[in-house]
Symmetry: C2
Subunit: 454 residues, 2 copies
C-alpha cells in the first residue's frame, strides 16, 4: 500500500511551487512586499500542520517565522532553522524558464529558491504533516525560518540574543546544504566562514576623455585591477599579511581521511566546463574547497559598459570581494586585515574606500554526537547506504552564532546537489531529493528522541 | 555699430540649443530616429545659409550631410569635416541638468554635444551666414558632416573612396579639438591614434556559488584583473611585446620645444582633483599626453553588481580596453599585437576572446603650410595673440584617412577647452568660444583664399 507521502507527493510539490512563485529576493528593496508574502505563506502552512504560537516576529529587517509544538516538556527539543528569502535571479536572460514561474522538467523543479532554501525548508513543513499521520511527533519541535540569510542574517543574532528562553532546545537542525550524489548520501561537518566587502577606487574627480588625459592620470579601473591582481601570488596563495596566521593545519592523517571522499577531478572539470583545475598550489581540489581559505571577486564594474565604444577614463571603479574562511580564522579578524591591507596598497593619486558587508564564522560540527548519529542513521535507513561526513565549501554563518549564543550544536541534514545551480540561473531541486528529505526527516526525529531518552 | 554677429548672437545660440535637444547618440540603437532627425535639422540649416546640392548621403550606417558652394572653379576649395553624432550621456544621474535639455549657465551651454562636436559644427554654419552678409564667400566651400564619429567612423572611409571627385578640395578644415585657454589660443598639430577592444574572459560554464567552488576554479574576474594588471610594468611602461617598436623618438630639442607650452602640473592636478600626477616614468605630463602611447581600461564588468552581497563566481568577465597611438604606430599593427598578446597571457582553464572595435591612425599636421598659417593668422586677428602649436592626446582617426585617400592635409581649428568635460557628465561649451569660432572662421577663409591666389 502506498504511504501517506506517496499518496500526497503531487500536492506537496504543488504547494512548494506556489511558494516558489513568490519572488522573495531579500537583496533588492523592490521585492520587499513579496518577501513579506512569502513569510505569510509559510506561516499559514505551519499552522495547517499543527504548529502552535506561529507568528511573524518583527526585526529591523524582514520578519522571522517562528512556530513550535511542545508535546511534553520532558522530551528533547529540536530547533529547525532555515530561510525563506532567495538570491537575486539576474541575469534573467540566462534562465531557460523564468525564475519565478516554476516548472518541473526531467524530474527537477526549476525556480529561484527551489533548493536554496525554500525547497529544503518545505521538506520540514511536510515532514511534520507526514508525522502527524504516522504516530505523531516523537519530540518537541521549534521552527525559526528567517528572511535575510542571503543578505547576511544581520538581524537574526539580535533576535536570538533577545529570545534565548523561547528558543531553548537541545540541537539545531538545518537543511541548507548538499550531499555528494543521490546514491552517495553525505552530511556536511565543516563549513567555511565569510568576510565580504565592497571596494571603491576613485581617481579623477569626474569622467575624463581618454584621448586628452590618457597616460597622465591614474585610471581607477587599471588601478583596481592591479590591486586585485596583487592579492594572490604566483602559487595562488593570498598575499594579505597575517591572513593565514590562524588557519587550522590538518595532520597528514586528517588530510588523507578528507581525500577519501569520492571525487574525480575529471568529472569536476567536466561538470563546470573547464579544461583544468585551478587553485592554491600544494592542495587537492577537495582540500581547496574544504580546508583552505580563499579570496574571490564576486562582481566588478566601472566606466562604460554599454554597446559600442566610449573613450572614457572613469572617475570610479568598484568591486565586491569576498573571502571564505576556515577554522580558526574569524570574520572580524580577516575583515580588519583585508581592510587595512587593501587601503595600504592603493597607489598615491587614488582614494580607496572599503565597506565591509556581512561576515560569518567557519565551523566544524561534531561527528560523534547523538544528533549526528541520529541523522546518519536516518539517511542510512532511507538511502540504504551510510552517509559520508564531508567538509563543504559554503558558509552558513549562523551555525557558529547558534553555538556561541545558544550553546547548541547543529546537524546539517541537507539534500541538495552541487549541480543544483544555487545562486545561478536555472537553479533547480530534484523531485527525488525533495521527497527523500520528507521521508528522512521523521526518521531523524525518532532516532534522536529515542537516543536522548535511552 | 554692432557687427552682424553681435546683432544675431542670441538667435545663433537658440538655433544651436534646438539642435542639441535632439539626442543623436550613435552608439545606442534606441536613438536611431533622433540621429536621423539631427541630420535633417543640419541639412535644413545648410540650405538656409545658401549651400547647394545639400543632401543626406546614405551609408550602411548613419547618413553623411553633404553640401557645397562653388563660387568659381578657379578659386581654392576648403572641405569642412565634422560630426553631428554625440557620445552616450550616461550616467545621467551625474548631470546637474538633463543632457538633452540644454541650459546656459555662467556663460556656458550645458548639453551632450555642446562642444563635441555639434557646437563646433554649428560655428561653421553660422560663419557661412556671417560671410554672406559681409562680402560673400572668398573661396569654394564643401561640407561633409558625418553621424558615426563616436562609434568609429566605419562608413566614412567607404564614402570618401567612392566620392573622390565630389570631395575634391585643397585642404580639410575641422573644428573638433581644443585650445589651451581662452586667452591662450593654440592649434593642435599632433593627434594620437586609437586601437579599441572588447575582451571577454570565460571561466566556468555557468555562474557558481563561491562557497561551494571558491578556491578550486579559475574566477574570470580575478583572471581578467591579473591580465590587465600585467599590461603595465612598475614604471607604467606597456608590456605588450614590440608595442614601442615604431614609436617616433623625439630629439632633445623637439622635447624641449614641446615642453615650452604653458602647463602647470599643480593646476593640472587641481583641475581633476588628484593629489599626484601619474604615468610613464621618464616623461612629463605634456609628453605623456602628447608623444607617448598609452593603454587604458575604459570599462569593466562581470558578476554581481547590484545592491548588497551575492556570493557568486561569475562565468564571464568583460572589459573595454583602448590604446592611444603615436607616430609611427599604426592601428592595424597595434590591434594585432594586442590581440595576440592578450590571448597569450590567458592562464589555462579560461577562454579569452578579443573583439577589436574601431581604430584610428596617429597624425602630425604640418605647421609650415599655407592653411596652417591662414588659421594661425585668423586666430591672431580675433584673439590678439599668436596661437601655439600643440600636440594633443585625442584621436581624430579620419585625419590620417583624408591624407591617404584624398591626399589632403588638415587644419584643426578647434575652440574647445580641456575643461569642457566632453565624453563626461556636464559637457559644456563656452558662449565666448562658440562666438569666437564664428568670428574666426571667416578670417581663415579670407587668409587662405588670398594666400592661395597670391
Amino acid at each position: 500500500m502506498a504511504s501517506y507521502l506517496e499518496q500526497n507527493q503531487q500536492r506537496f510539490l504543488t504547494e512548494l511551487i506556489d511558494w516558489l512563485r513568490i519572488p522573495s529576493v531579500s537583496a533588492d528593496p523592490k521585492f520587499h512586499g513579496d518577501v513579506l508574502r512569502a513569510a505569510e505563506y509559510l506561516k499559514a502552512r505551519f499552522l495547517e500542520v499543527g504548529l502552535e504560537n506561529v507568528e511573524l516576529c518583527p526585526t529591523a529587517g524582514n520578519p522571522i517565522v517562528y512556530g513550535e509544538k511542545i508535546i511534553d516538556p520532558a522530551l528533547p527539543t529540536v530547533l529547525v532553522y532555515g530561510h525563506y528569502d532567495v538570491q537575486p535571479a539576474d541575469p534573467y536572460e540566462l534562465w531557460d524558464s523564468p525564475p519565478f514561474e516554476p516548472v518541473i522538467k526531467d524530474e527537477k523543479i526549476y525556480a529561484r529558491g527551489a533548493c536554496d532554501d525554500k525547497g529544503q525548508v518545505y521538506m520540514h513543513v511536510k515532514a511534520l504533516e507526514v508525522m502527524n499521520q504516522d504516530g505523531g511527533l516523537p519530540c518537541n519541535i521549534k521552527v525559526m525560518i528567517e528572511g535575510e540569510e542571503e543578505i547576511g542574517s544581520n538581524n537574526l543574532g539580535i533576535f536570538v540574543r533577545a529570545n534565548k528562553e523561547k528558543l531553548k532546545a537541545d540541537v539545531i537542525l538545518i537543511s541548507d546544504t548538499g550531499m555528494l550524489a543521490n546514491d552517495e548520501p553525505s552530511i556536511e561537518v565543516g563549513l567555511r566562514g565569510l568576510s565580504y566587502h565592497e571596494v571603491e577606487v576613485t581617481g579623477p574627480n569626474r569622467d575624463l576623455h581618454s584621448g586628452l588625459y590618457g597616460g597622465a592620470v591614474a585610471n581607477p579601473i587599471n588601478v583596481l585591477c592591479k590591486m586585485i591582481a596583487s592579492l594572490h601570488d604566483e602559487n595562488n596563495h593570498i598575499t594579505i599579511p597575517d591572513f593565514y596566521n590562524n588557519v587550522a593545519v590538518l595532520t597528514d592523517e586528517e588530510r588523507a581521511e578528507l581525500n577519501r571522499v569520492p571525487h574525480s577531478d575529471d568529472e569536476f572539470k567536466k561538470s563546470i566546463g573547464l579544461p583544468d583545475t585551478y587553485g592554491e598550489k600544494g592542495y587537492t581540489t577537495v582540500e581547496r574547497i574544504g580546508i583552505r581559505p580563499t579570496l574571490d571577486v564576486n562582481g566588478i564594474w566601472g566606466g562604460y559598459t554599454g554597446e559600442g565604444a566610449k573613450t572614457v577614463i572613469a572617475s570610479k571603479a568598484y568591486a565586491k570581494i569576498s573571502m571564505r574562511l576556515v577554522p580558526h580564522q574569524t570574520s572580524d579578524e580577516i575583515t580588519a586585515l583585508f581592510q587595512k591591507h587593501f587601503e595600504s596598497i592603493a597607489p598615491s593619486g587614488v582614494t580607496v574606500v572599503v565597506k565591509p558587508h556581512h561576515g560569518g564564522e567557519p565551523v566544524v560540527t561534531p561527528t560523534d554526537s547523538v544528533a549526528y548519529k541520529a541523522a546518519a542513521d536516518a539517511m542510512e535507513t532511507t538511502f540504504g547506504k551510510r552517509p559520508i561526513p564531508t567538509r563543504g565549501g559554503g558558509s552558513i554563518p549562523i551555525v557558529a552564532m547558534f553555538k556561541s549564543e545558544l550553546g547548541l550544536d547543529t546537524v546539517l541534514l541537507g539534500f541538495g546537489l552541487d549541480s543544483d545551480a544555487i545562486h545561478s540561473p536555472n537553479e533547480h531541486y530534484g523531485v527525488f531529493n525533495f521527497l527523500k528529505g520528507i521521508e528522512t526527516i521523521p526518521h531523524f526525529y525518532r532516532n534522536y528522541a529515542a537516543a536522548m531518552q535511552g
